[in-house]
Symmetry: C2
Subunit: 590 residues, 2 copies
């Protein structure tokens, strides 16, 4: 089997680790009930296993193609999308008023992980639509919502995000696409966008593009950008489709991976568009959905890591090499200690990233739905803090774990069509898009730490210290050891945090940012270790093997990633000095 969803693990992570139950009964989430989780995950697991996973190699080898009339998806993708749509998966976390199911976003994360694990290239299509739905919900006019949301929520149309231009990537403020007002209240959009995921395709009748562009006379840089809605086909008042709009895909990128996901060059030639939100506030509109988009990408890291783990585990059970005591004949390589180390490394890291993403998701849901203002504020701060970590730590993990998966396969792993190889190729995009992981680290240090004087990180460290106390009071030697390692990690992260705040305050911003990536990695390790410890604590009442597994994962993570935490502080707080002070000798600048 190419992919079999880890339903138990996902359900446990959602409920026992991330605390999904806190969401029951909140306004807007009335439809949610803890008992729904299991059947929903089981239904999604079937689609992932039976339909999406078998298409994954097809999509990889065929790829999306550009025909005369737009992008043609690989064989079987149309039918798979129809199955996805008909089951209502697009609307799982959308409000019931627009035809959605009104369930928590965090539950949707559990579902999306499966789709991404089974077929990451496919999963990107709904992922972008979720973003468009969120943006329209938050900033669309009543008319825009009425016309577009029911179709998007039903999955009858899909959505895209058009930000990047050749000269405007991480620096989105450098974009130059133009929007000229027309007499009828619409705008004529002209310009070229690149790297547009699922920018065109044949899965649905219409595609709704959200496009960043500049109005005439708009201020330079990021304060002069507005957001526009540009449908591929214009929509008549009765909801039927009208004329083709002036937007088309003029090229597809040839990529290392996610071949089935068309990465489009989009050309806008006076395309009819409508302003979303206020003029020149386009970036702010995008920011409202940035957290969730980044969390979704983080989850891709989890998904590809899980898929890589499964592929490696399956291979290690089948592939026989060498002799092992107690096994007759050639032994499956799973019996070799080094292979087992690789597998537990993969598994522990995937579980930690999943827990971080789910924790971030619950905060996002609470921040949105709680009727207690102080709870909302605290949840929002936690969501903001966890988002760059969820995105960057999980996607770096996805790449590393996919690489370990290749390694378990030996020579087979280097063959292009092996699933492990595809995952190694697919995984590599996630640290790049939706804000590179370097941008996430800068966001963590610059906005999420310095923005509130470190309050949200201190609140997180208090959570960690609660876990330390809980683990200590078990009086179980394994938990006590775990507590000490987590405590050491927490102190290390605290020390690095204090240093970062001091450096930012002293306006030694470059010094702080020079350590940002290493700081984010440490934060992910400590928070991941904390959540795995929570998992082990929660599993104490569970079945013996499940309990032992959670303890083994938390313990292994602690003695590798947490035990090394204190020794990583120097690289964060001193490393920058080396290359900032020696930039001329090293890089010929400065």
């Amino acid at each position: 089997m190419a992919y079999d969803a880890p339903i138990d693990e996902i359900e446990f992570s959602l409920k026992a680790v991330a605390g999904l139950d806190q969401l029951a009964g909140l306004p807007g989430l009335e439809a949610y009930d803890d008992d729904l989780v299991r059947p929903i995950l089981e239904e999604a697991a079937k689609l992932a296993r039976d339909i999406l996973a078998p298409l994954n190699p097809v999509g990889d080898s065929q790829g999306a193609r550009l025909g005369d009339d737009g992008v043609i998806s690989p064989d079987g993708f149309k039918a798979a999308y129809a199955a996805f749509r008909d089951a209502g998966w697009m609307g799982i976390a959308a409000p019931e008023v627009w035809g959605g199911q009104g369930l928590p976003r965090t539950l949707a994360l559990g579902v999306m992980e499966m789709f991404h694990s089974a077929n990451m290239a496919f999963g990107l299509c709904p992922m972008l639509s979720y973003g468009a739905i969120e943006a329209l919900q938050a900033h669309g006019t009543d008319d825009q919502k009425r016309i577009y949301l029911p179709k998007l929520v039903a999955g009858e149309w899909t959505g895209t995000m058009n930000l990047t231009e050749p000269q405007a990537g991480s620096d989105v403020g450098a974009l130059s696409t133009k929007a000229v007002p027309d007499a009828d209240g619409s705008y004529a959009i002209t310009g070229q966008k690149i790297y547009i995921t699922w920018g065109d395709h044949d899965l649905t009748d219409n595609i709704i593009h959200l496009v960043l562009a500049r109005l005439p006379g708009a201020p330079a840089g990021s304060r002069g950008i507005s957001l526009f809605l540009v449908p591929k086909f214009l929509v008549n008042d009765d909801g039927s489709l009208g004329a083709r709009n002036g937007v088309r895909c003029i090229g597809l990128e040839k990529k290392i991976g996610i071949h089935a996901s068309p990465t489009c060059v989009m050309e806008y030639t006076g395309a009819k568009g409508w302003l979303i939100g206020e003029a020149n506030k386009g970036l702010a509109c995008m920011f409202t959905m940035m957290n969730s988009a980044r969390l979704n990408v983080g989850l891709e890291g989890v998904a590809v890591g899980e898929a890589a783990y499964q592929a490696a585990f399956n291979f290690a059970q089948e592939r026989k090499q060498g002799k092992v005591d107690g096994v007759a004949g050639p032994a499956p390589i799973l019996h070799h200690a080094d292979v087992r180390r690789t597998l537990i490394t993969m598994r522990a890291r995937v579980a930690a990233a999943r827990a971080i993403c789910h924790a971030c998701g619950v905060s996002a849901d609470l921040a949105h739905a709680s009727d207690v203002p102080s709870v909302r504020a605290a949840a929002k701060a936690r969501e903001d803090l966890l988002t760059p970590i969820a995105k960057a730590w999980s996607t770096d993990m996805g790449v590393d774990v996919a690489s370990l998966g290749v390694q378990v396969h030996g020579g087979m792993g280097f063959m292009n069509e092996t699933l492990a190889a595809q995952l190694y190729r697919d995984a590599r995009i996630a640290p790049i898009y939706e804000g590179t992981n370097g941008i996430q680290a800068i966001d963590l240090v610059g906005r999420k730490l310095a923005g509130n004087g470190g309050a949200s990180m201190r609140a997180m460290l208090a959570e960690v210290d609660d876990t330390v106390r809980m683990a200590r009071t078990t009086n179980d030697p394994q938990f006590v050891q775990l507590a000490e390692r987590l405590w050491a990690g927490s102190k290390a992260l605290g020390e690095a945090t204090d240093w970062m705040l001091t450096a930012m305050k002293a306006e030694e911003q470059d010094k702080a940012l020079a350590g940002a990536t290493a700081y984010l990695a440490l934060a992910g390790d400590v928070i991941g270790g904390h959540l795995l410890a929570r998992a082990a604590l929660a599993a104490r009442s569970g079945e013996a093997n499940f309990r032992a597994r959670q303890m083994a994962l938390a313990g292994f993570f602690a003695e590798t990633s947490l035990a090394s935490a204190p020794g990583r502080v120097p690289g964060i707080i001193e490393g920058g000095e080396r290359f900032l002070a020696n930039s001329r000798a090293l890089f010929g600048i400065g």
Copy 2:
């Protein structure tokens, strides 16, 4: 420029760090003179830059193809090979008696790094020939040497290694290819070999295959394997080519990377072969060249890391995004602190791996050429110890650094034809072939540590401690800090070493092997840090920027990789416990 060889860095590493000068005047190396190093590196750099590097994308996109009459190399490879051959590069480290230049192997490492950086797929062809030359030198009969060595050393023919079969990879003892004696003293070889690098091609008139096979009635397992020489075309007594032999390439693997290097399925159908060395001692014959083959693969990690660094640095100079104080208009991303951190991380790790490989090479040359038995013995022990570290640490580094290189490129890095993307794909094979890195770790702990009671590792730690003393006595605060970090690393490695030896002695082999990969990683970090410190010490008398650069690289490596060393011991000595004791809960076995 796609690749510009770091001649200064390579020369400095060879001479000042690894001590190439120790080889001058040794028997068999009379041709060597320190003054030769620079002109040889400069000549090789031209071939790499002007001929091999421009062909790298061609090879990647065209790949090797299988025609009716064998493998067809990509456009331009024939001419490039001719230039390589005519300049005498194949014979650089071969004895003068066979037409070689009689220079140290370590100097050849300096040259090969350039060829691999410029075009790893190309570099593999001579790399396999070097191995065949070594095996024939060590184990061939006088006739075999007379017939084959001059042609191989001149590069007129190439050599291959045929070990792997579908069921026999890491466990080479499981191979089943048969060798049946003929009346004329030759053997009829029948069987199938897979993953044969440059197993067939159109660059030369003949190809000399070294093939492992079993004689009738040979003992099972690795003690019943013999080595045979099987030419593609039989060779007449006068040296001219005779009939086509019964060996052919019946398939090419489709791989993630190194597309221009044909990875062949070879079919032997009663091919005429000749025994090399003694019957049933084939593995021992292969072992004599295994050290150098593994070191050569380690060097590929260095080479691909260097190429990735250069590509990233070049891109970071050109790509402009965002504003930076002191730079007018959009700034090259090289000015962003986080990008600089990525670049120094890449550079420091490449330099450390290069130093490890060169140090290993000098030991190999000394072990071979020194006329003092005690020097030979010590050098051999050092070579044996460093070989698995050079192979595994450098190739893991190559993958990680290539991935960082992709990251610096942002979206461009994910485009299949970007050099950074090719390097990410190419790099992934090196941790796999010539003994997976897991096998290297097992070799390090099982043979290289336990095999001599830890003596060679203790000798290495004494070297490290000498460096600590040298750095301390400078009284320069930067060196004193470096010394303290190296000292802490040395103690950590010593502690882990003692534990490993105790575990192996107590026959808790599984526990030891469960930590082997993490132990090797720690050993590489400490030895790499030691050699970078040596480099910084040696550079004190050099030009100001060069001196500052070496200190920055050593200092950065120390505060990242060395400072974390003590905290990594628990993951080595305790990690195994977790998954060995919980194998049922984790993996359903045990």
